[in-house]
Symmetry: C2
Subunit: 307 residues, 2 copies
């Protein structure tokens, strides 16, 4: 195998009570990448279609993630990478993670899988660092593993894939305003009350149990974020209205995707996710804000070869 084309899913990170630790992959939104082995050493980003992003390897998240892998690989050649960018950068659904994870996943496949999925997370995090200064894992892990994934620990890195109930669907609305990940981090408080912490980890425990039991009601009761959402939501136009109307039509929960500005809701069943989408649209249509909206089952597989 000298060249493959892969699908790299968009991902929702910071899922409510799972700030910095819990993410999930989507099925219907993602980038495509063509990665080819070359005799020439190093990594070249040969083409980016769909977005205006840097072609220089050291400035491109896929390039940096790829170089991290290449530094550890027993391989004398290099790789050419062509990126068909469908996920808008800065949307909050793991645009940089899809490129970082896709690059290292494809390279690993072409090399005969010398690296474990957890090692790939480590390489892809180097790409994430280029995009947001912080080497976070809660987008690249679900992109690589599929489904819901928990980052139990960063030092050492410990990724725990979680079961994904079959009828769980996501609705994601992306208002086309700019919220920089770094800004979104800077407005967070560095301290929280112990009382709020207890409530947050109680909810995270409930959410994990709900995923294992496919207990949609428990998932719904647990999808709460009393720590980050109250602060970050001020950066997102009409967040409260989006959330209230989504919950009114039966969403299990609703929160900020990643560091925003996208807002996600989880529903039981596709029909419900579509009703949520309709309501979200109704909130944004009267405002002077362009938006994209996505409805997707949760991707169980992660990155996959499409040709």
């Amino acid at each position: 195998m000298e060249s493959i084309k892969v699908f790299c899913p968009a991902t929702i990170a910071n899922i409510s009570c799972g700030f910095d630790v819990l993410g999930a992959a989507l099925d219907t939104v993602g980038d495509e990448m063509i990665v080819a082995k070359t005799a020439e050493k190093g990594i070249r980003i040969t083409k980016i279609i769909g977005q205006d992003l840097p072609l220089e390897t050291e400035k491109n998240v896929a390039g940096v993630a790829g170089l991290a892998l290449l530094a550890q690989a027993k391989y004398d050649g290099g790789f050419d990478i062509e990126i068909h960018k469908n996920i808008k950068p800065g949307s909050g659904i793991g645009s940089s993670a899809a490129s970082s994870a896709g690059a290292v996943w494809a390279m690993n496949a072409l090399l005969g899988k010398p690296f474990s999925p957890s090692e790939l997370v480590g390489f892809a995090m180097q790409g994430e660092k280029v995009a947001s200064q912080v080497a976070h894992a809660d987008n690249v892990a679900p992109a690589l593993f599929g489904g819901f994934t928990l980052v139990r620990s960063y030092k050492p890195l410990d990724i725990v894939p979680l079961p994904t109930p079959e009828e769980l669907y996501a609705t994601v609305i992306h208002p086309q305003i700019e919220v920089k990940t770094s800004d979104s981090r800077n407005i967070l408080k560095t301290k929280i009350t112990l009382k709020d912490g207890i409530q947050q980890w109680g909810n995270l425990g409930g959410l994990v149990a709900g995923l294992f039991r496919s207990d949609y009601e428990l998932i719904g009761r647990s999808l709460q974020d009393i720590i980050v959402e109250p602060i970050r939501s001020i950066l997102i136009p009409s967040f409260e209205d989006i959330k209230i109307t989504a919950m009114q039509v039966g969403a299990l929960g609703c929160g900020i995707s990643g560091s925003g500005p996208s807002v996600f809701a989880l529903s039981k069943g596709k029909a419900n996710a579509e009703r949520v989408a309709d309501q979200m649209k109704k909130v944004y249509q009267p405002l002077d804000i362009d938006f994209d909206i996505h409805i997707s089952s949760i991707n169980q597989q992660g990155i996959k070869i499409i040709s």
Copy 2:
């Protein structure tokens, strides 16, 4: 049925990363209570064997919990309660919870089970309030449900019973020094860093996943408490030595039981739990501190009728 005798298990609360939300019940340590219906209204504590505790209904945790149930019950009579107290008050393994939970569980059984387990938790919490000023649920919930239980939320009360891997054993050492629950609460900081919070809820998610998968290694990696243990452990003589030696002989994790002074370790298998007990004894024997030590499988059933 006019009278029953029940076994009320001791419980470990505040299990490492699950501060205030996660508890587990023990099999081999517990109180026995004889509860009998009476034509006379109200509740009488007729006898307490084994410990010097108040017989006045309003000052006794079982009495107060029972009165909370009685206020909601459609029942014209009352109850006599006799308590055989094997769990030492102030030990940190749910002494007051065993009495509170045992009283309401037995009364509910005698009345034909008009109340759900969750409602019983609510009544028993009223007893807990007498003992420690705070109506916490992380001892009474496992006493009533058995196994590991998560208190996802206090308002509204939401108890999530978790699966308990079969080979999980607890070793609990109770140094006979006094640590008041209220003191133990007062030394805690009211604020924590967001960074520590993230690590704590990552671990709690991992622990819940480990319990569902019977993944003892994941349970072990997740049994960490970076928030409360570093502060409270200064109240417990030789805590560090106890923990280090327990881990050296293969304990999955080790922490403070409840608000102390008891220290628990979890192990895979009874033989390992016994090795841990031997090591713990070696730490305390040279010191001038009396101690009890318990080895127990995790109680899967909760309170049960013994005659």
